[in-house]
Amino acid sequence: MAHPAATGPQMLTANCLRQGDVLYWKAGGWVRDFAQGEILSDPATATAALDAAQKFVTDNRVVAPYLFEVREQNGKIRPVKEREIVRAAGPSIRTDLGKQAAPETKHV
């Protein structure tokens, strides 16, 4: 989970209540593909997104939303922590499973 003192860019994630899928915040809604997720460039924007996500929690559509740090690497946005890299892709030892196997970009 994001360090409380994160100052750099962050993203917001949660799980779909019904299916358990990992979701990423985008423009007031959710997508399944990390690459389509919204970069929240400063702490105020990130906090505002987390606050807005609570509506989806109370509406019983997602569970456990939280922010995590990302950074730009070779022109691409990547999570800072290994945990979020694995979460965004799927099991590293089964590349036929998880998002890396069948990325979906549609809004949830």
């Binding site: 209540l17 019904r18 299916q19 358990g20 019983n60 290994e82 945990r83 694995v86 590293s92 030892i93």
Partner: protein, 553 residues
């Protein structure tokens, strides 16, 4: 095998119906996530890194072919075509959808299985020696007692809200294949000086952040008193354990804080009180009734004659086949550890094929071991070549039981929400490095156990070589421990020093193994040599090359 009676069947059916209602109420918003979470955990349902995960109980690791087929069906219908056998003799599914779980549990109930008490702060699935009822030197089959403990501890009103989870194991042999001394509480079936069979009770073992080997609570408990004594120990734990600090809530902390002597005194006081009230006696007829479910099969009268075969067969027999109590029979271990595979994983197709194999050659039964392997407990020696051939076709005939590539690894950061680092790729790297079978035989018995976090589901404290994944600023590192054991000579591994990088740990293991090969005396296992020569020499070799931490400093 145990068969559900009317009460068991009704209890499980009602529980599934209850959970179906709870899921419906969660989806409708009648229950919040905070309200629902403890309910789903009571039914073995976690929310992990990628998805929900369901942990299904396999009581004392025993499965029928019918149950195995159902596990395959569930893997196909509700998951992604595979399951993961765990270090607690359970099976986990990594991808079920919440909306499907009630139907999944209904399917499980149809073959007398469930996921109750596979999570939460309660008495978890009772485990047992995976050679139960088959081992040559066994005093008594531990499964009848394990089943009685299962019944006693299922929804026990006093123990459904313990400070923390509570794990019980039962063994029936001097050879400990169930890691008894690493459990919150364990029972070893023993024979006293008069020749009577009774139970030795130990408690306070555990892995995790602060590892402890269990203490003996009572050397000999009479058969009829066993539930009373177990209840006494649990009662002291439930009353006196700390609930204010999550790191100090296990029974191991209580026993080692107040001292084993004081704990024994308190347990004895409770035991005396329970006995005085005359409750919880285990009547001989009830023990006999449960034992009848586990009666040995009618073995054919066969000569002890191990069939000859090719080199592959001979290698497999050497490590994966063990002596059976009945002449002409054998115990066959199926390691779920082919080189480069995910330890403990089995596909639905493999499970179905194994069920067929169980019916044809294994009297319809199989065991899950805490070492993430499967065991055919009763096979005719003369059928071993056919079994080996069939397993080979399923990529399940790897001849490595007990060798360096027979590695325990928790799901780690590839699946687990609690993990700090990945375990499985490290197991795969090490297995590939030591893939040469001659080299494995040259090394001999060597147990590597890998955990992706301090919770130690991969039993790293008990590994001859233990590996613990740690997170340093979001990057995975691996700490090396040497000298642990989960057997009757149980010991806690010693931490070697600073952690290694992801791409260094397998090489460090190799350097440590090389020290053993150079230093060992005739007949010594890795563990024996380590205990004799100590840590220093191994440490020097392990850190012979600069490690990542130093090179980036």
């Amino acid at each position: 095998m145990y068969r559900y009676d009317e009460f068991d069947a009704q209890f499980v059916a009602e529980r599934v119906a209850q959970f179906r209602g709870q899921v419906a109420r969660r989806l409708s918003g009648e229950l919040t996530e905070d309200q629902f979470k403890p309910l789903r955990l009571m039914n073995g349902l976690y929310l992990q890194l990628h998805a929900y995960m369901l942990r299904v109980a396999v009581p004392y690791g025993t499965l029928s072919s019918k149950q195995m087929r159902m596990l395959a069906h569930i893997a196909r219908k509700y998951d992604k075509g595979y399951g993961h056998f765990t270090t607690r003799q359970n099976i986990q599914y990594n991808w079920p959808k919440l909306v499907d779980v009630p139907d999944l549990l209904d399917d499980l109930a149809s073959v007398e299985m469930h996921a109750i008490q596979t999570s939460g702060n309660c008495v978890r699935n009772v485990t047992a020696d995976h050679f139960a009822g088959a081992a040559k030197d066994e005093i008594e089959d531990p499964r009848p007692l394990a089943e009685i403990i299962r019944q006693w501890s299922s929804l026990h009103p006093e123990f459904v809200f313990l400070a923390r989870k509570f794990k019980i194991a039962v063994g029936g042999d001097k050879t400990d294949r169930a890691a008894l001394q690493w459990h919150d509480m364990a029972v070893e079936i023993v024979r006293n000086a008069q020749g009577s069979i009774g139970y030795k009770v130990i408690a306070g073992g555990g892995m995790g952040r602060i590892p402890y080997i269990a203490h003996v609570m009572k050397e000999f408990v009479e058969r009829e008193d066993i539930l009373a004594y177990l209840e006494a120990v649990l009662r002291v734990y439930n009353q006196d354990s700390r609930r204010d600090n999550i790191h100090k809530q296990r029974i191991k902390i209580l026993i080692n804080t107040i001292g084993p002597e004081e704990f024994r005194r308190r347990a004895q006081r409770e035991f005396d009180e329970i006995k005085e009230n005359g409750s919880l006696q285990l009547p001989p007829e009830e023990l006999a009734r449960i034992t009848a479910y586990f009666a040995p099969p009618e073995f054919e009268k066969l000569p002890d004659e191990m069939p000859k075969g090719d080199e592959a067969f001979a290698n497999w027999v050497k490590t994966n086949v063990h002596a059976h109590r009945a002449p002409g029979y054998a115990i066959a271990t199926i390691t779920l550890k082919s080189i480069g595979a995910v330890p403990g994983d089995a596909s639905a197709d493999q499970m179905d094929a194994l069920a067929d194999l169980m019916d044809r050659y294994g009297l319809g039964e199989i065991r899950v071991s805490h070492e993430q392997n499967l065991v055919l407990p009763h096979v005719r020696q003369k059928d071993l070549p056919a079994i080996h051939a069939r397993l080979g076709a399923l990529d399940l005939a790897t001849p490595n039981a007990g060798l360096i590539t027979d590695i325990i690894a928790c799901p780690g950061l590839d699946y687990c929400d609690l993990a700090n680092a990945r375990s499985i790729p490290i197991a795969q790297d090490i297995a590939r490095k030591f893939a040469d079978l001659d080299r494995q035989h040259e090394i001999g018995e060597l147990k590597i156990k890998i955990s992706g976090c301090i919770n130690a589901c991969g039993h790293h404290h008990a590994g001859h070589i233990g590996i613990l994944g740690v997170d340093k600023k979001g990057v995975e590192f691996y700490q090396l421990q040497l000298g642990g054991s989960g057997a009757e000579d149980a010991s806690i591994g010693d931490i070697l020093g600073p952690a290694f990088g992801e791409h260094e740990i397998a090489d460090a293991v190799e350097r440590v193994v090389d020290v053993y090969l150079q230093e060992r005396a005739p007949g010594e296992r890795f563990l024996d040599t380590y205990r004799r020569v100590g840590l220093a020499m191994f440490k020097t070799a392990a850190y012979e090359k600069p490690i990542f931490e130093k090179t980036v400093a």
